[in-house]
Symmetry: C2
Subunit: 299 residues, 2 copies
């Protein structure tokens, strides 16, 4: 069937309901996006299409998750190209609602979380994750997917959404998918188009910093696991220090944070941690980029 696009909740729900009652029932796969699609998004769509009967992509630039209006205004908007990319990757339905359709006058209910929303990007973007959780919760209620696909590049977003689903008993399987990278290691991001040629070259420092961090962590792991919190803290400082040194050596980069945390809880690492997440945010020129890598501990 050719791809169909809907800009109303009732239109999308009607179509989904019709396809569900007609369908084989191997499920609905959902990929929520803010548009400006790149290979990272497309890898999610391909996986959703491979694993489900019906694949839905939403394209909605969610104002609630932008703490800075300049960032919202400059976010790339490429709807027609996005729809063609969705179609080529096996999407059945695209949902591209207006802001008013998602947030009508008077809407004032939010999903909030304490804990993993407060660290990393949550420090500089205090309303960001509440905006993400609220829109993702709404989209889950609209699409009612069996599985939803998110990139591991937004590691904190993925952790926070997994926690929301668990805490609120949402009946959806969250699938995290590997970060897709350019040939030199730069993580694909809609914001990469803002980089000029020099900045684009400099931006590989995030990948290199993560590689250095994980090398350090690998060395340390070879010497046995830390035995108490102070040893974990020293290990954390060593690992983030080696990443920070790589970023500091790049004149175009301004580091916002380099952290090594428990990959699931985003709390400091400790004896019960099954995996470590090394996460970086840095500005290259005016463009804020994030990246991360995960390192298995006791998994």
């Amino acid at each position: 069937m050719p791809i169909k696009t809907y800009d109303t909740i009732s239109g999308l729900r009607g179509e989904l309901s019709a396809r569900r009652s007609a369908g084989a029932g191997a499920g609905v796969g959902f990929v929520p996006t803010m548009g400006a699609l790149h290979e990272g998004h497309i890898s999610l769509v391909r996986r959703a299409a491979a694993e489900n009967d019906i694949t839905v992509v939403s394209i909605f630039l969610n104002p609630l998750q932008f703490d800075e209006s300049a960032d919202l205004d400059s976010y790339p908007k490429t709807l027609e190209a996005d729809i063609r990319l969705c179609e080529a990757a096996g999407t059945d339905l695209v949902f591209c609602p207006s802001v008013r359709e998602i947030y009508p006058d008077g809407a004032s209910t939010r999903i909030e979380m304490d804990g993993p929303t407060d660290v990393l990007c949550g420090r500089s973007r205090p309303r960001h994750f509440s905006g993400v959780l609220t829109v993702v919760g709404k989209l889950f209620h609209i699409v009612e997917p069996d599985a939803a696909y998110f990139g591991e590049k937004d590691a904190q977003q993925l952790a926070v959404i997994r926690k929301m689903v668990r805490d609120l008993n949402m009946n959806v399987n969250i699938v995290g998918c590997p970060t897709v990278r350019e040939a030199d290691g730069l993580a694909m991001s809609s914001r990469n188009v803002h980089l000029n040629a020099d900045e684009r070259k400099a931006s590989v420092c995030l990948f290199r910093a993560l590689t250095a961090a994980l090398e350090k962590l690998g060395d340390a792991a070879g010497h046995g696991a830390p035995e108490d919190d102070s040893e974990w803290a020293r290990l954390t400082a060593d690992v983030t220090g080696s990443a920070r040194a790589v970023l500091d050596a790049e004149p175009l980069a301004r580091t916002e944070y380099v952290e090594l945390l428990d990959a699931e809880t985003l709390a400091p690492l400790g004896g019960s941690s099954r995996a470590a997440l090394c996460a970086i945010a840095a500005r290259i020129g005016d463009t804020r980029l994030i990246d991360n890598m995960r390192f298995s501990l006791n998994e």
Copy 2:
């Protein structure tokens, strides 16, 4: 089929899933309760059973919605009797989870709302409605009902839940059901058991105050609708004044609030209001009671 009870989420979900795939599909009706069931609850269960294939009642004393631990501790707990009442009223499945099943260690996601949660009971119970919304949202995700039934006696709760469902696009039909009253007009409530004989007699003052308010409102409506905000404010003061006079005449009653608001938005009445809600909270002795009546304006 005999009634079945479940205390785990996975047990209830498994049973619902089996019944849904076997069933005719006229839907799942859901009545969330905190137990200590009375005729008011039972009227909800009967309606749910009449309108749906599968009727689920949850019995969960939700600690998140109690601002005072003494109120939580003294709340009546009558699980075995509740299950028998559910069965007699046509319930198929009872869900009676532990606190830990609903709020495992580390759970920290909440549903929050600005606006109608801040007035009436929200003033003296600042965390109450977030607790209500969070548990009701969770229960909706667990049960995935087609329709959920709530008493109009908790008018603010009903308005706030309707708004959550609308704001977060939850796919459930919210059905409000009339307040069930004792012969003298006292609204049924699990807390009525705390009233001694004198207090029980005195407690009818809430019903009488509401009756006086609606009589006043009816008189005023006969003289034509207010033309501006100051006329609405004067009308509101007249109506709440006549209710307050009835409460003030009862020595055992201490009034917490008497308010007349837009029944849907819980904002002050105005030209666009379709119905007015007169709502009262008062302590009779140590027992806090609430009651309300609705008056149609332009509906």
